[in-house]
């Protein structure tokens, strides 16, 4: 009898304890999930808060003036903002076609035994720390630019009207073009592996139908695979763009770090991230505030780009019925 009563009572207590533990467990997990949210909001707001004094004193002038002079406390961030956008644009101009080519190669062209190793190699390229791209750019690519590329561009494209203004300059080697090149090498693996992944989600029957009608490999990729995966491909491109905009170390080595305005892609300039990396350590208090505000601008831009990327990418997985 006693045995029976204890076995009816204990489970009740145990159930209550289990339920309590479950609740506590859930609360703990929820708290950490909310923490992730708070982090991002905190990151944004703390930079804005740190830069509030400069935003108050400069106002919109911060975005429209190219006069960046910490000694006189003048902060016009047009040059770094312009540099960020231009280097990212150069990087994307090169990286997007190359990445598409690699993804096309890896999904349709290459023989099967080659796809795995080549794909892995391209992805390993993504794992190399960015500072090493920077050092490589500084020691290897910059001399090449200085010796061959820039003199050639200066004499052949420099004299042309309008477009020529972009390609005139002394052979220094550091500049937006060099940075754009290094950035493009950096983002290619990201975009290419995203494209490859989404290309592989295309149902085989779609491609096989097209092949059965006599379509070539190119036509299958361009007219069947690409339209099917369009939004995700754009998402992948935006992911690469987000990376190119915020990349610091690779650019800091090869941009030349000059805050003077120049239209030429061959002359030293700077980007937001490179400017922060270079100057923040030794900056005075107001200068730091200005750099924090710049960081906030960078954060906003990359946030918008990355948010668009995620929305585009999730479109495809909805089509697949994954979410």
């Amino acid at each position: 009898m006693t045995h029976a009563s204890s076995s009816t009572q204990n489970p009740v207590l145990k159930d209550a304890a289990d339920a309590r533990h479950d609740r506590q467990f859930r609360w703990l997990l929820t708290a950490t999930a909310v923490f992730v949210l708070v982090t991002l909001a905190g990151a944004a707001l703390s930079m804005l808060w740190g830069g509030r004094s400069v935003l108050a004193s400069e106002g919109l002038h911060f975005f429209t003036s190219s006069d960046w002079n910490p000694v006189e406390n003048k902060y016009g961030a047009l040059v770094p903002i312009y540099g960020t956008l231009v280097t990212a644009a150069i990087a994307m101009l090169i990286a997007v076609p190359v990445s598409f080519g690699i993804a096309f190669f890896l999904t349709e062209v290459a023989p099967r035994w080659m796809r795995g190793p080549v794909g892995t190699a391209i992805e390993l390229l993504a794992g190399i720390p960015s500072i090493i791209y920077g050092m490589w750019g500084f020691f290897v690519l910059m001399p090449v630019m200085r010796e061959y590329m820039i003199p050639w561009l200066d004499t052949h494209i420099g004299p042309l009207p309008i477009i020529g203004a972009l390609f005139r300059g002394p052979p220094i080697g550091a500049g937006m073009l060099t940075s754009g090149l290094v950035l493009s090498i950096m983002v290619v693996p990201f975009i290419a592996s995203t494209m490859r992944e989404v290309f592989m989600t295309v149902p085989a029957r779609l491609k096989e139908s097209a092949y059965a009608l006599g379509a070539t490999k190119w036509e299958v990729s361009w007219d069947i695979v690409l339209p099917y995966t369009r939004s995700a491909v754009i998402g992948g491109v935006f992911l690469g763009l987000g990376r190119a905009l915020g990349e610091t170390m690779a650019v800091a080595f090869v941009i030349g770090n000059s805050v003077g305005f120049t239209t030429s892609l061959l002359e030293p300039s700077t980007t937001i991230a490179a400017l922060i990396a270079n100057d923040f350590g030794e900056a005075t208090e107001t200068y730091r505030a200005a750099l924090l505000l710049l960081g906030f601008v960078l954060f906003l831009v990359t946030f918008v780009v990355l948010a668009l990327a995620r929305l585009m990418l999730s479109n495809l997985s909805r089509k697949e019925g994954n979410r």
């Binding site: 859930r26 982090t39 080519g101 190399i128 960015s130 500072i131 490999k217 922060i276 750099l291 954060f299």
Partner: protein
């Protein structure tokens, strides 16, 4: 009609051949730069890749030395970063997969996490500076450096934990729950055991990412010329020394920078290959 279709056929063939050639060129382009960068690393780094690298501290210009203080600093800060970031990431990832992943909050958290994962690392460094360093009297410290690295670890671990837990078959949960096991025990003892290789992979990938991170450490850990184990003071890290030494113009400093670069790259590549191997084995066991 036949001449028209033949010319059309020819044109399509030419376009196809051209596209395939360009695709091969693109793949070669990628491989070429991978090879070129690795070759530069090896050629410049191998000469000073020796025992002194591990046993001596960073030298003044034009003197012999190694990177011991920086290596110890890197190990300490990466270790602390993973210790802080990984448990938080596992918990948040578990929440996404097991509790609230389908709610509105879950969608928002997943979205924000994905953005945090690709956010520029320098922004995270600025965040830690503004939120932590400025509030502790503007003093650079290894703790601040580790914190900024933890914010890089966090989203990667959240993502992989979430994905790996969702790969665990629903029957496992149902079987355990139908035996009367409470949910926290199901998670801790059944799900984690099954998803462990995947979660470890995530942590390894995160470690590979932070090992070479420079930007967030610049104004959190700041760097230190001397050997230091004090985590409340400024501390050196291999990438920080590389950044300082690479463009310095002193020959021995540049050699050390390349040796450090080689060390970091070898470490990162080894870790990614191990992670890849773990993941493949895990996939195979699920099939």
């Amino acid at each position: 009609m036949s001449t028209l279709s033949i010319s059309l056929y020819q044109r399509r063939r030419i376009i196809n051949a051209l596209a395939i050639t360009l695709a091969c060129a693109a793949a070669l382009f990628g491989l070429l730069f991978l090879g070129w960068i690795l070759w530069t690393l090896l050629a410049k780094g191998i000469t000073h890749f020796n025992l002194a690298l591990l046993t001596q501290d960073q030298p003044p210009p034009m003197e012999a030395g190694g990177l011991r203080n920086a290596i110890i600093g890197s190990v300490l800060m990466c270790g602390m970063g993973v210790l802080v970031g990984a448990p938080l990431g596992i918990a948040a990832g578990t929440w996404l997969a097991e509790v609230g992943g389908h709610s509105r909050l879950g969608t928002v958290v997943r979205f924000v996490n994905d953005i945090l994962m690709s956010a520029p690392s320098i922004v995270l460094g600025l965040f830690v500076y503004a939120a932590f360093v400025m509030n502790t009297g503007g003093k650079f410290s290894a703790i601040a450096g580790a914190l900024s690295l933890a914010f890089i670890v966090l989203p990667v671990v959240v993502r992989t934990t979430d994905e790996m837990l969702r790969l665990v078959p629903i029957q496992m949960r149902e079987a355990a729950l139908s035996l009367g096991v409470p949910q926290w025990k199901v998670t801790m003892q059944v799900l984690y055991r099954s998803a462990l290789p995947g979660i470890v992979t995530g942590i390894l990938l995160a470690l590979a990412r932070i090992a070479g991170e420079t930007a967030p450490l610049l104004f959190t850990a700041f760097g230190n010329e001397f050997f230091s184990l004090k985590i409340t003071g400024a501390m050196s890290a291999v990438p920080l020394v590389m950044y300082k030494f690479a463009g310095s113009g002193f020959e021995n400093w540049e050699h050390l920078a390349w040796a450090g670069a080689l060390l970091i790259t070898l470490f990162v590549l080894a870790i990614s290959l191990i992670a890849r191997f773990l993941l493949l084995r895990n996939r195979a066991s699920h099939d």
